[in-house]
């Protein structure tokens, strides 16, 4: 039986104007990735300073310099509609890579922050 599940992966941004890249592995029983969402413990920094590239199974879904604000949803958005719809991507080797770039913006002062990548997935109940 298939069931919905959410996955969260975190990266830490400790230096201003730096690029942080990390690869995460999805569970083997995940069969589809339906949506993607990014959040942070300091939303304003993510909103104004962040851009990222996201790859799933080495396929690029969001290219370099894609602004994080375009993948964020505020609390005014209904919880079921917050994820950016990818349309049910097969995870292949299950590797998800995020390359996050922090860039100065005149409206914010840098402090270390966390970026969380959420994936809305569908998994098989039993292997």
């Amino acid at each position: 039986m298939l069931k919905a599940t959410k996955k969260r992966f975190d990266i830490k941004i400790t230096q201003a104007n730096s690029t942080v890249s990390d690869t995460f592995e999805l569970d083997k029983n995940i069969v589809k990735v339906h949506g993607v969402l990014v959040t942070s413990d300091k939303d304003d920094l993510l909103y104004y300073r962040g851009t990222q590239k996201i790859e799933i199974n080495k396929e690029e879904f969001f290219p370099e310099n894609y602004e994080s604000k375009l993948l964020m949803s505020g609390i005014n958005v209904a919880p079921k509609q917050r994820y950016y719809d990818l349309g049910g991507v097969a995870p292949g080797n299950g590797r998800v890579q995020i390359t996050y770039k922090d860039l100065d913006d005149g409206r914010t002062a840098f402090v270390p922050y966390r970026v969380s990548l959420y994936l809305d997935c569908e998994m098989e109940d039993e292997l």
């Binding site: 304003d44 602004e67 604000k69 505020g74 005014n76 100065d104 913006d105 005149g106």
Partner: protein, 183 residues
């Protein structure tokens, strides 16, 4: 099979009233342009109204309790201290795009960075200020459908914020062109 992709182009604006002509090159296998989005980033720290934080509390109200001699009931009077005004969004510039295949612009937009009235109607005063990054809506591209056989888009951008404030503001406008690619 058709696949979606996005082409990102950055325009850097440095002078007030700057007008920029640019081209966006699309991959050769592009079939259609299906959507346009834009974003922006302030590069230099200039003291402009656009960089101010969004207004937190728009209207403050005061609650007064008055006891009348006839009826032992509470009469609650709500006085509005500040008048609530609808704020004008700060216009940053004008963006227009034209395909090489057809005459006239296929996309024209006034570029705004923030919604200045996002906190309007929030009477909770709960200490959780309303901002774009906490209360903003999910962003989606504006849907267009344009043939992309010539694979070149002509673009035009005119600065408005620098001109309005009579100062040089250095900022970037990022244009996202969503395309359909044949695999």
């Amino acid at each position: 099979m058709m696949k979606e992709g996005v082409i990102i182009t950055k325009i850097n604006i440095k002078r007030q009233g700057e007008r920029k002509h640019f081209q966006i090159k699309l991959p050769n296998d592009t079939k259609y342009i299906i959507g346009i989005e834009y974003g922006g980033r302030l590069v230099s720290k200039a003291d402009t109204k656009a960089t101010d934080a969004l207004p937190h509390a728009i209207a403050k109200s005061e609650v007064a309790t008055v006891e009348t001699p006839y009826v032992k009931a509470e009469y609650v009077e709500v006085k509005e201290k500040g008048r609530t005004f609808f704020k004008r969004n700060q216009l940053v510039g004008e963006l227009k795009l034209q395909s090489s295949e057809e005459s006239n612009w296929f996309y024209a937009a006034d570029v705004f960075l923030n919604d200045s009235n996002i906190g309007l109607g929030d009477f909770s005063q709960s200490g959780f200020p309303v901002n774009d990054f906490t209360h903003g809506n999910k962003r989606t591209e504006e849907i267009v459908k344009v043939d992309a056989e010539s694979t070149i888009i002509q673009g035009w951008y005119l600065d408005a914020i620098g001109k309005a404030q009579k100062t040089d503001i250095n900022y970037e406008v990022t244009i996202y062109v969503w395309i359909n690619v044949e695999e």
